[in-house]
């Protein structure tokens, strides 16, 4: 373990969820790491893969059901269009803060020198290939390779 006087040199961030609010924290942390001069690696697994699947990454939605912090009754959250409404509101608020849409953010983070990987087990499970992903995805790697690439890094699971 590193001691508390030592600054963080490297982070490995896992994004495992595919909702808009599930994806952004990891992206913001990866970008923020690069801005601070910290090495960063992003690893997408399970439904988190939606954020790097070319056909899906522009259509991520806010989950309005099963989230008490939305402060609306679950039954209202289930009404058709509710998720689209919450998504469009959140996207507007993010744009005000200069937080880019997912595709642009992934491009920006990759250009900033962050490596981007997809999880092999999930890729196999969902019958995906490298061609299904946006061009910023560097490789499809196993969990073992993920740990190798994370040597010396703090691992953050989101």
């Amino acid at each position: 373990m590193s001691n508390s006087n030592e600054s963080i040199k490297k982070v490995s961030i896992i994004i495992s969820r595919g909702s808009l609010e599930g994806v952004y924290p990891g992206l913001i942390m990866a970008n923020g790491a690069r801005m601070e001069g910290i090495d960063a690696t992003l690893f997408f697994t399970f439904f988190g893969l939606d954020a790097i699947i070319d056909k899906r990454m522009d259509n991520l939605k806010v989950a309005t059901v099963g989230n008490p912090a939305m402060h609306i009754p679950t039954i209202l959250g289930a009404i058709p269009g509710m998720s689209a409404f919450a998504t469009s509101k959140m996207k507007k608020e993010m744009e005000k803060l200069d937080i880019p849409p997912v595709r642009e953010f992934i491009q920006m983070i990759h250009d900033a020198g962050c490596e981007i990987y997809a999880c092999k087990a999930t890729v196999d499970m969902f019958h995906l290939t490298k061609e299904d992903f946006c061009p910023q995805v560097d490789d499809i790697i196993s969990v073992g390779q993920f740990y190798e690439k994370s040597a010396g890094a703090q691992i953050i699971f989101t």
Binding site: M35, E36, G37, M108
Partner: protein, 105 residues
């Protein structure tokens, strides 16, 4: 407040080591701050970023986000990280005589 001899002048710094007063800033001070950040030679491209940051700060009261900076200054993300390695927004702000940027993006 700590002071430091930069380019022959005693200059007051804030807690982050950035200039306390913009009025202390000049191009010689910028060059010396750049050296401290590991940038030996400020090129035209560096100056483009520095001047843009100062203009934005004067209008908005905070340094621009990296996204805004790359969209409006004509320097893209890859080049920005190459010009100011290991923390572009923070380093460019310091060299420009501005406080550390407050934003997260």
């Amino acid at each position: 407040m700590p002071t430091k001899l930069i380019a022959g002048k005693n200059i007051e710094l804030d807690a982050d080591g950035n200039l306390l007063k913009r009025t202390d800033w000049n191009e010689d001070v910028a060059a010396e701050l750049a050296k401290e950040e590991g940038i030996d030679n400020l090129t035209d491209r560096h100056w483009l970023v520095i001047k843009y940051m100062q203009k934005e700060f004067d209008q908005k009261g905070d340094a621009p986000s990296i996204r805004k900076l790359t969209k409006e200054s004509g320097v893209d993300t890859k080049e920005l990280y190459a010009l100011f390695p290991k923390g572009p927004a923070k380093k460019a702000a310091r060299i420009a005589g501005l406080p550390k940027p407050k934003g997260c993006i």
